[in-house]
């Protein structure tokens, strides 16, 4: 059987599949459930300094090729999240702490707290497409990206991942800035800004108007981003966006990813998500004579 283990910036993972931030991640018990269901690691919901209720419902709407969500970064605040982390850590697998803030100082403070709560790595949300002054609005600027990354790196000893938005002129430029700031890995992509309008009521379905588009429809964009980042930087990449089958995972790996984050698929597959992906990827590797998931990383660049 093909070897599925991978290593991302020192994190040894049993398989390349990580639960993406914001799905199943508001409570520690659900994170633990994902780990027990075969996720090699999980990313917490993005957590900020203070409790935040998020945007008004509806916060989710289906489109033919995915979902649009405008959760609006609801979270209980970093202090309360400590209790969730206790539960999340119980299965003994890596938990990655996602954080968001408005300034480099906020990010550093959150990072220190998350480190104390026991996460194995941090993920900086510089990419949420619908929160004013947060997320993508920071991560669209190379200077800000570098500054925040450097501030967090200086504040903690654990690896720091930076999660990028595809809604920029050049994701390679942002990736280089994050790498220059000391990022240990880059995660691409967060959701694309999108919207759905109700045709009977003639108003946007989501309470917030626009939201973030995830699921199968964004995979071609995510693969291109990972491919471009692989050419631009020398840090490991975590692919995300529409991973729904082992073959999708293989495509991201070939583009340059070392591991994958998976979100929207959990809607359809629930607890089967991660074991099924591992099984499918293993079957893919075996059928094509590849010995390991690792060996696929960046394969599509061989001819460059």
């Amino acid at each position: 059987m093909a070897d599925l283990t991978v290593d991302v910036a020192g994190l040894r993972l049993e398989n390349p599949f990580i639960l993406a931030s914001g799905v199943w991640g508001e409570t520690g018990a659900t994170l633990a459930r994902a780990l027990r269901a075969g996720a090699a690691a999980v990313v917490t919901k993005s957590v900020g300094l203070r409790p935040r209720p998020g945007y008004p419902n509806p916060t989710i709407v289906e489109v033919p090729s995915g979902l649009i969500n405008s959760m609006g970064l609801p979270n209980p605040g970093i202090e309360e999240y400590g209790a969730e982390m206790e539960e999340a850590l119980r299965p003994g697998r890596p938990v990655i702490g996602s954080i968001f803030g408005a300034t480099a100082g906020e990010f550093a403070a959150l990072a220190r707290r998350m480190e104390r709560w026991g996460v194995s790595a941090l993920e900086l949300n510089l990419s949420c497409p619908h929160a004013k002054g947060l997320g993508a609005q920071l991560g669209q600027d190379p200077g800000t990206t570098k500054r925040i990354t450097a501030a967090v790196k200086a504040a903690v000893d654990i690896p720091v991942f930076v999660k990028l938005t595809p809604t920029v002129a050049s994701i390679a430029a942002i990736g280089r800035a994050a790498a220059a700031g000391g990022a240990d890995a880059l995660v691409a992509i967060n959701t694309l800004k999108a919207m759905a309008i109700d045709l009977d009521l003639c108003i946007p379905v989501l309470g917030h108007g626009t939201g973030g588009y995830s699921g199968p429809g964004i995979k071609p964009v995510g693969v291109a981003c990972v491919y471009e980042l692989f050419k631009a930087v020398r840090v490991p990449l975590i692919g995300a966006g529409g991973v729904s089958t082992g073959e999708d995972a293989a495509e991201y790996l070939m583009a340059g990813a070392t591991a994958l984050e998976v979100g929207t698929l959990v809607l359809r597959k629930r607890d089967r998500t991660f074991r099924q992906l591992s099984r499918e990827l293993a079957r893919f590797l075996a059928s094509r004579g590849h010995r390991s998931a690792r060996s696929l990383t960046g394969r599509a660049h061989r001819g460059d």
Binding site: G22, V23, W24, G25, E26, T27, A29, T30, A32, R33, K45, P51, R52, P53, G54, P56, N57, P58, T59, I60, V61, E62, V63, P64, L67, N69, M71, P74, N75, P76, G77, E80, A83, A196, D198, D200, L201, I203, V205, G207, G263, T264, V266, L267, R270
Partner: protein, 264 residues
């Protein structure tokens, strides 16, 4: 022309509106979707909010019983026939009904999700027993509707203004002593359901409870309704009491829109 998406509100027009109690009104609309007793829908009040509501009617006309307590429910209660709302669902697990005599214990608006179950059960023998409890006479909901089913209906009010004075659980205790039930179904405050579940243990009848938690997505991904790693929106709202009993939050904690835990 386009394919219907499961998780997208479909717009329906309210065909009927009735004030059932000073605080509770029912809204009804035509809707051919299949539903089981105990399932809920996400109700979009355009421009206001989208909130979970149990279906109190599950046939070709669907209905909800709205207890106006905040912005969304008050907006819902202000709607009239001809107004439009968006509906996603029915979602979640409803009540499974097995052959045999059933005890139904409802507290407050809890009767809303139990009413369609009683109507279904009462069509066959043995007739079910139904406890309808409320704090006071004016808050009693669906008592006539339950009587019309032919079920044995026991009404309780905390203040004795109607039916028996006392708690719904008192009546449940007596019924459990008097009859043999092959299952118990309950919806109401968690403190009440906790008592119902422990009372029923002596008869070793399986108990199904309908839970309420803060819901956003309704489809098991946002985690806002999570209790001990279970999503009430998908794995509930109706759950077996043995499963519920293992959840430390049951009857003790709930979460708000931020995901903060708070004492009930």
């Amino acid at each position: 022309m386009a394919r219907r998406l499961t998780h997208r509100p479909r717009i329906v027009t309210i065909t009927g509106k009735r004030a059932e109690t000073p605080l509770v009104s029912t809204l009804r609309w035509r809707d051919a979707t299949k539903a089981r007793p105990g399932q809920y829908v996400m109700v979009w009040v355009p421009g206001v909010d989208e909130v979970p509501m149990s279906l109190c009617d599950i046939g070709g006309v669907k209905g909800i019983a709205v207890h106006a307590k905040g912005e969304a429910t008050s907006a819902l209660a202000r709607l009239r026939a001809g107004d439009r709302i968006g509906i996603r669902g029915p979602y979640g697990h409803g009540f499974r009904h097995k052959p045999g005599k059933c005890l139904v214990v409802a507290g407050g608006t809890g009767i809303a999700c139990l009413a369609p179950l009683v109507e279904k059960l009462a069509r066959r023998w043995p007739r079910p027993s139904v406890v309808v409890g409320a704090r006071t006479r004016s808050e009693l909901l669906f008592v006539e509707r339950m009587r019309r089913t032919g079920a044995e209906v026991v009404v309780t009010t905390d203040d004795g203004t109607a039916g028996r004075k006392g708690l719904a659980t008192d009546a449940a205790y007596e019924l459990l002593n008097r009859n043999r039930y092959s299952q118990v179904c309950s919806c109401g405050p968690e403190a009440m359901m906790r008592v119902v579940a422990s009372l029923a243990q002596c008869q070793s009848a399986p108990v199904q409870l309908s839970l309420e938690r803060y819901m956003k997505c309704g489809i098991g991904i946002c985690d806002s309704c999570a209790m001990g790693g279970l999503h009430i929106c998908v794995e509930g709202p109706v759950m077996d009491s043995r499963r519920v009993a293992g959840l430390p939050d049951f009857g003790a904690f709930r979460r708000d829109a931020c995901g903060r835990k708070e004492r009930m």
